[in-house]
């Protein structure tokens, strides 16, 4: 009897050890990737790197100014499209949970969340690139579509968590419906919505596939949104497979910057969720 209990206990301890091993061993790849990118990238980053465009093939020097500015512009434009649409759709979903439209829209949000990014890229190619040509705008639209489901879901979920008494109190004071939503409900759920938005930005800033056939890429410094534009992930993709060591260095530097963006955005979200104590 004692022996059996001992065996069972040993088994239990062993199992725990195995679980802990597997759970923590997976942090290794992440740490290795982070350290490697930092090691390779941090050397590249200096003022010249941030303010110059890539040198012609085979020449040394140059920077990633075009990609940096391009990424900011493209992401800013997708935010401008996706945030209002996403928030309003999210408000609708949380306010009218039972309606048929809400059911189908909700289903579509789930579908959008699962659509592979490359598919979004080819669809936007037909929608926008064919009629008006490769442009930053088309890239932004593609990224906005990727952003929408996250913004919608975070808005919806945050608003559903708010106590209904809040809305009822405001309405009973005679505040019109749209003002209740915009001045009471949304500000109350603000932190949750904001962190959803930041998360969605963190997610799309590193997307490459939807940009391949839309924003195309550019070797020039361009702020014209109707022209092709370079972006950080696209620059990494093109230069990662290049034979020139100088271009690898540019790509490592760009990876470092991109990674820092993503990490900062994530930490920012963490701070917001902790300060307002919300669950996402």
């Amino acid at each position: 009897m004692d022996a059996r209990l001992g065996l069972r206990n040993t088994k239990s301890v062993l199992f725990k050890a195995v679980i802990i091993f597997f759970a923590f061993v997976i942090t290794l790849p992440l740490i290795i990737v982070l350290l490697y990118i930092i090691k390779q990238g941090v050397m590249q980053v200096n003022w010249h790197f941030l303010t110059h465009i890539p040198a012609p093939e085979g020449e040394t020097g140059g920077g990633i100014a075009n990609a940096l500015v391009g990424s900011v512009i493209i992401v800013a434009m997708s935010s401008i499209v996706a945030i209002p649409v996403g928030m309003l759709a999210g408000i609708y979903l949380s306010e009218n949970p039972g309606t048929r439209l809400a059911y189908w829209s909700g289903l579509c949000v789930d579908i959008l969340q699962g659509v592979p990014s490359i598919v979004v890229g080819i669809v936007v190619y037909f929608w926008i690139v064919k009629p008006i040509g490769f442009s930053a705008v088309s890239g932004s639209i593609a990224l906005a579509i990727m952003m929408l489901p996250i913004v919608i879901r975070s808005t919806e979920q945050t608003l559903l968590l708010l106590p209904p008494s809040l809305k009822e109190a405001a309405l009973s004071l005679g505040v019109p419906y749209h003002r209740v939503i915009l001045k009471v409900i949304v500000p109350c759920g603000f932190a949750g919505i904001l962190s959803g938005i930041i998360l969605s930005i963190a997610r799309i800033i590193g997307e490459t596939a939807p940009l391949l056939f839309t924003a195309l890429g550019s070797s020039l410094f361009s702020t014209n949104i109707l022209k092709p534009m370079e972006s950080l992930p696209h620059l990494i993709f093109t230069y990662a497979t290049s034979p020139y060591d100088d271009q690898h260095d540019l790509a490592w530097g760009a990876s470092f910057i991109l990674l820092m963006f993503v990490l900062l955005l994530n930490i920012f979200t963490k701070l917001i969720t902790r300060k307002w104590n919300i669950q996402l």
Partner: protein
Amino acid sequence: MKVVKSLTLALVAIVASCLTQSASAQDNTLLGAGSSFVYPLFSKIFAEYGKTHDVKVNYQSIGSGGGILQLTNKTVDFGGSDAPLNADQAKKIGVPVLHIPMASGAVVITYNIPGVTTALNLTGKDLADIYLGKITSWNSAEIAATNKGIKLPDLPIVVVHRSEGSGTSYIFTDFLTKVNPDWASKVGKAGAVNWPAGLGGKGSEGVAGLVKNTPGAIGYVELIYALENKMVFANIQNKSGKFITPSLATTTQASNVDLPANAEVSLTNTDNPKGYPISSFTWALIYKEQKYNDRTAARAKMVLDLLWYNIHDGQKNCEPLNYAPLSKSAVKVAENILKSATYGGKAIL
């Protein structure tokens, strides 16, 4: 809320500045796409051109097939291609397209055999057999026969080709088709073929990168890429039976032919005994009639001026980058082709 307001303001400011930029008529960027074969040359020439002219050129190396497709879709101002349009492509475009020769270059066979730093001698037939997957090891009898004195290891050959449609692949398969009947019947020549063996690298960069990183690999890239990467490359046997080292001089020899008026000519497997057999012209492609969509006459002129510069002043950039410049007669042919371009039926230049 303050954070949001300032963020919104910043966003709006960025977009507004971009919009005004786009709205202001100073549209002086040209977009080209296509051949990665010519990419190093183009990026150099266009950088030079941008210094002296108020025109910027964005050339994306997406492969010749992509260049032709994007020209067909009218999403670019000019395409770059290492292969003339084939019948299908010409039919799909439907209107005349001008092929303006820009330079000629060589496709070299590069390899990564640990311990071998000298140039191998390869015949066209063996090369095709390697790419057909018939010769699979570096110490096979066929390769040894043309490389007496070089000790080749017992290492499997890792065949590397371009993963996407490309003019480089066209030039390479064009050559293999001419020298190996088996290849001609099984695979044929095209920008993208059904490769019987090996793995694909995206772009010349991808192939060069794979070869550089894979022991036992063989691949084909432009001369410039091989030189840039200090990779070894093989001497290839030409029609006269000589093993020719790819270089500027041997490419120039191969490109020294009488151009037909439309400049569409294949240089592979040249008759010239001093010529390197895997050479080709590379072309810029534009529509003959430049008035399409809502293009302005000024924009059409801008494209033609750029290409005019390419075949004259731009040619001085060829040699440092190991492209063979156009011969005098070729420049004349190219000039005539450019002059035949029209805007609304009227000649532009």
